[in-house]
């Protein structure tokens, strides 16, 4: 069979290799490790949003039976440097995040003291017996108040709570806006939300005093970044540090940063010379894991009478919380709002300005979509507002303004390049799947019968699989643009493929095996993917920013091709054939057109065990390491459609139907892509309707449990229809585009537009998310009073 006609694993619905262990309770999550001699950490966390630490009395805690040690920030001051997320971005003011607070506390939930004890129960008992004298300081919890010159300062050394600002501009937005026949705009707000992976953060440090080796088992997405950080902050060479993230219970960005608790268990393990575990509970997670969104966006869109977009302007204030998240910085989320705001649209004139304001809350950090869910919410609302005013269909208005096929590659208003992607194809596919005209007729009838039914759309584009030419966060001095694969065949003929990525639900052990097996010519079951472990990796970061399929997939392809060459050279010698006549397939190498073949096992045994009989030029290990760098990255895009119904009595929003057409390039495993889209959309629906971290004016968290912080259940999430437009990426190996985040980018905007559409007869515009029953009630009441 000719090579191109072989059945391929890439593109097939291959069941996941990681499933059996996870289905039978045999996973290895960080909290599942319990080495001999392990002790537990409980943290005393600040009860105040902003206060001076006058005195910490740990005597009573220390004297309790079962307590091993108690530490304050001052006592561990020499044990590690504070974390400082640096950036080359102009107008960014770096601030330091301590491991344990020193001098003062800056948010409710900030770690103040650590108890180490024989059990978590005892450690928590002891933490309650630590007495802290706080001198409360004034605090501005509201970001607009905190941005004022008179506001109390959180970090005195940077002399302002405005810790970053940036502007993007193209054309003359002011003039074009002034000249535009139609201008629509509003103040939009997307409230603060939690990342909320189901597994709380958990870290286990294990230090071997004899070998001076540190192993950190971490619920992290970025073992490589954590290793680099520990090396720098603890002044240890990297070859003595190993970070393991075997099974991780969801990440969504919340586990993509380095945390004080992670550093703390490493420091304590080194100091105490025994395994030290910290396992967060849910309250601690809601208080201290990096948080998401929380931007106020004043935006305006200028449009010609025929619906052509003329200009976009935006002023963004982002509430970045008390500390700049390591290593991404406080700039990551709010700056991405303005850089992605122009969306997939032709945008001749644009000005977007952003300021990041420090407030006494947990740090803002990466969350699935990063900036783009907020950008899409604002832009897609503006499009609908304009379309309604002009009497143009919302789908037609989008289509008319999309960057067209002949315009790719297209530089957006903020400088991002869209490569050839299926913007219009996605929109058309959604239109067809909905049977759009019939759906609108049904809506009209339902409306006439008194039902509040709405149809909403969202189109977006995102940059995925980012290479080394673009930092993943603005000005961040960490290379996130490369990935390396090492492939090796052992004497048994089985293949080990080692990557630096760190799967936390994406099924990378399956999809990367599909890529490697196809390229190498072996059976899927002969490939074992090693990931989520820094051992054996010179440089690696992890899994975030929709990068793993593109970067690790590309590195895997390159390494597999190089290794296949080695195998074929050895086989040519053994079979006394010419390399060009050989084909590797199904873990065998055959001479084309004959029945003569050798298995990978036979070839490997010959190479390793009869090494002396191989000619000198073939005396090489069956191993290859390749680095892949996609340079700039690629474009992923989608159109989402939501059909909702609002209960006029309870203001509950039911999502009746949800359709996604997405272009992630060549699909490696459609089952896994569907699952990623389903999960992303569910999180987006949660963000649109339910999920909100509520802080009071002082900075106290009011939604610190899952009874107050609402996560969608199976009863709130509708069945979803997912359509794949496989427009292969022209810029990446294999044609893959990243797709882990898109669901969450499109869904809030689509829901906001659908709710607005449902209430169109009342003239209501949804400008704030989540649009909870209470907010809807107030909107409807206000509209009725006006009538």
């Amino acid at each position: 069979m000719r090579e191109e006609l072989r059945p391929k694993l890439v593109g097939a619905r291959v069941k996941r290799v990681e499933d059996p262990r996870l289905l039978t309770g045999q996973g290895s999550f960080a909290d599942d490790y319990r080495p001999a001699g392990m002790v537990h950490v409980a943290l005393l966390r600040s009860a105040y949003p902003h206060a001076r630490l006058l005195r910490i009395d740990t005597a009573a805690a220390r004297s309790m039976a079962g307590v091993v040690a108690v530490f304050t920030g001052d006592e561990l001051a020499e044990a590690a440097r504070p974390m400082v997320a640096t950036s080359k971005m102009k107008d960014y003011r770096a601030t330091a995040m301590p491991m344990l607070a020193r001098g003062k506390v800056r948010y409710v939930g900030e770690p103040v003291a650590a108890v180490v004890a024989a059990s978590r129960y005892i450690a928590e008992d002891a933490a309650r017996r630590i007495n802290v004298d706080y001198a409360p300081l004034p605090a501005a919890s509201d970001p607009l108040r905190a941005a004022e010159a008179s506001a109390p300062l959180l970090h005195e050394e940077v002399r302002s709570n405005i810790v970053l600002s940036r502007e993007f501009a193209r054309g003359d937005a002011a003039a074009a806006m002034a000249a535009a026949p139609l201008r629509v705009g509003a103040r939009f707000r997307f409230r603060r939300k939690a990342v909320l992976a189901l597994e709380n953060r958990c870290y286990l440090g294990d230090y071997h005093r004899g070998r001076r080796e540190l192993t950190l088992y971490s619920a992290t997405q970025v073992p490589g970044i954590v290793r680099d950080a520990l090396s720098e902050l603890m002044a240890m060479p990297e070859h003595l540090i190993r970070v393991v993230a075997a099974d991780v219970g969801g990440g969504f960005g919340g586990k993509a940063s380095v945390y004080p608790e992670e550093l703390l268990v490493a420091v304590l393990a080194r100091r105490l010379g025994r395994p030290v575990k910290y396992a967060s509970d849910r309250l601690e997670d809601l208080l201290s894991t990096s948080q998401a969104f929380d931007e106020i966006v004043d935006a305006e869109l200028g449009v010609a009478n025929d619906g052509t977009i003329a200009a976009l302007t935006a002023e963004v204030v982002g509430d970045v919380g008390a500390y700049s998240i390591y290593p991404w910085t406080a700039a990551l989320e709010p700056v991405q709002v303005v850089s992605f705001l122009p969306g997939p649209y032709r945008m001749p004139n644009y000005r977007g300005r952003v300021r990041g304001v420090a407030t006494p809350k947990a740090p803002l950090g990466p969350y699935r979509g990063v900036g783009r869910p907020v950008a899409a919410f604002v832009m897609e609302r503006l499009i609908d507002m304009a379309a309604r005013r002009l009497g143009i269909d919302p789908l037609a208005m989008r289509r008319q303004n999309f960057v067209a096929a002949e315009e790719f590659p297209y530089r957006t208003g903020s400088g991002i390049i869209w490569d050839r992607a299926g913007f219009a194809e996605c929109l058309t596919a959604v239109r067809v799947a909905l049977d759009y005209d019939a759906l609108r007729r049904w809506q009209k009838e339902a409306r006439a019968a008194g039902r509040w039914i709405g149809i909403g759309f969202a189109s977006y584009a995102e940059l995925t699989g980012i290479g080394s030419k673009i930092p993943a966060a603005p000005g961040m001095p960490v290379n996130t643009g490369t990935e390396t694969a090492t492939l090796r065949i052992d004497p048994s003929g089985s293949v080990t493929a080692i990557f630096g990525v760190a799967s936390h639900g994406q099924g990378l052990e399956t999809t990367l095996a599909q890529v490697v097996a196809d390229e190498l010519g072996v059976r899927l079951e002969d490939v074992r993917i090693v990931q989520g472990d820094t051992a054996g990796r010179a440089y690696t970061t992890g899994t975030y920013a929709s990068r793993s399929a593109v970067l690790a997939g590309g590195a895997g392809k390159l390494a597999a091709a190089a290794l296949r060459e080695k195998v074929l050279r050895a086989a040519a010698h053994l079979l006394e054939a010419h390399v060009d006549d050989l084909v590797a397939e199904g873990s065998r190498v055959a001479i084309r057109g004959t029945d003569r073949s050798l298995s990978f096992r036979e070839i490997a045994r010959s190479v390793y065990l009869q090494f002396g009989r191989m000619p000198p030029e073939l005396q090489e290990e069956l191993e290859a390491t390749k680095l892949y760098d996609p340079q700039f990255g690629t474009t992923s895009s989608a159109t989402h459609a939501a059909v909702v119904e609002i209960d006029p009595e309870t203001f509950d929003v039911r999502v009746l139907r949800y359709v996604v057409a997405e272009d992630c390039g060549r699909v490696i495993n459609p089952m896994i892509v569907d699952g990623q889209v389903h999960g992303g959309v569910a999180q987006g629906i949660g963000a649109a309707l339910l999920e909100e971290l509520v802080y009071d004016g002082e900075g106290q968290l009011l939604s610190g449990s899952l009874m107050d912080y609402l996560v969608p259940s199976a009863a709130e999430i509708p069945p979803m229809e997912v359509i794949h437009i496989e427009a292969e990426s022209p810029t990446t190996l294999g044609g893959f585009r990243g797709m882990g985040e898109g669901g969450t980018i499109g869904a809030p905007a689509a829901i906001a537009n659908a709710v607005t559409d449902a209430l169109a007869p009342l003239g209501i515009e949804v400008t704030e998310l989540p649009v909870t029953p209470e907010r809807l009630y107030r909107l409807v009441e206000a509209a009725r009073r006006k009538e």
């Binding site: 289905l23 129960y121 994406q506």
Partner: protein, 165 residues
């Protein structure tokens, strides 16, 4: 707090006797005392359902039950359901239909589903959605979990394996 109690609990068919503090949660008992780490905590206040196990024939949250309350009782955890070599039909259905991603909520989801199927037999999609509404999943958007449970319910009723997707 002080004063340990002697308890005897049968877990996955094996009888265990241990001295425990009265405040020890059943979930911590399973994880720390018996090394059965398949039962995961997600919230420790009874909302997320990740720690669901079967106690004396009913699904319970192992974060809301003390180990001493299980004294003399029978507990089934995910480790007692099937093995890597021989998956239970419910586990097989989750595998076939991609009903799990990170796998953290999965043990609790499986035990809740088992309880539903044992008590109600064949299940409609709406019944499954209502039935698992006390189990949170952040990865899957529930769709494939619902499909898997419906398929497993049908298969377990008819005695057939939980069919190909």
């Amino acid at each position: 707090m002080s004063g340990k109690r002697r308890i005897a609990v049968t877990v996955n068919g094996t009888r265990y006797e241990r001295e425990v503090e009265p405040r020890l949660l059943l979930g911590d008992f399973l994880r720390s005392e018996l090394d059965l780490t398949g039962t995961h905590f997600g919230c420790e206040h009874g909302i997320c359902g990740a720690c669901t196990v079967i106690l004396n024939g009913d699904s319970v949250r192992a974060c809301l039950v003390f180990a001493v309350q299980a004294d003399g009782g029978e507990v089934l955890t995910v480790e007692g359901l099937g093995s890597v070599e021989a998956l239970h039909p419910l586990q097989q259905a989750f595998h076939e239909h991609h009903g799990l991603q990170c796998g953290y909520c999965t043990p609790g989801m499986l035990m809740t589903a088992l309880d539903l199927i044992r008590k109600h037999g064949r299940l409609t999609e709406a019944a499954v959605r209502a039935g698992i509404s006390g189990n949170l999943c952040r990865c899957t958007g529930y769709q494939n979990i619902v499909t898997a449970i419906c398929a497993a319910a049908a298969a377990m009723q008819s005695g057939e394996p939980a069919g190909d997707a």
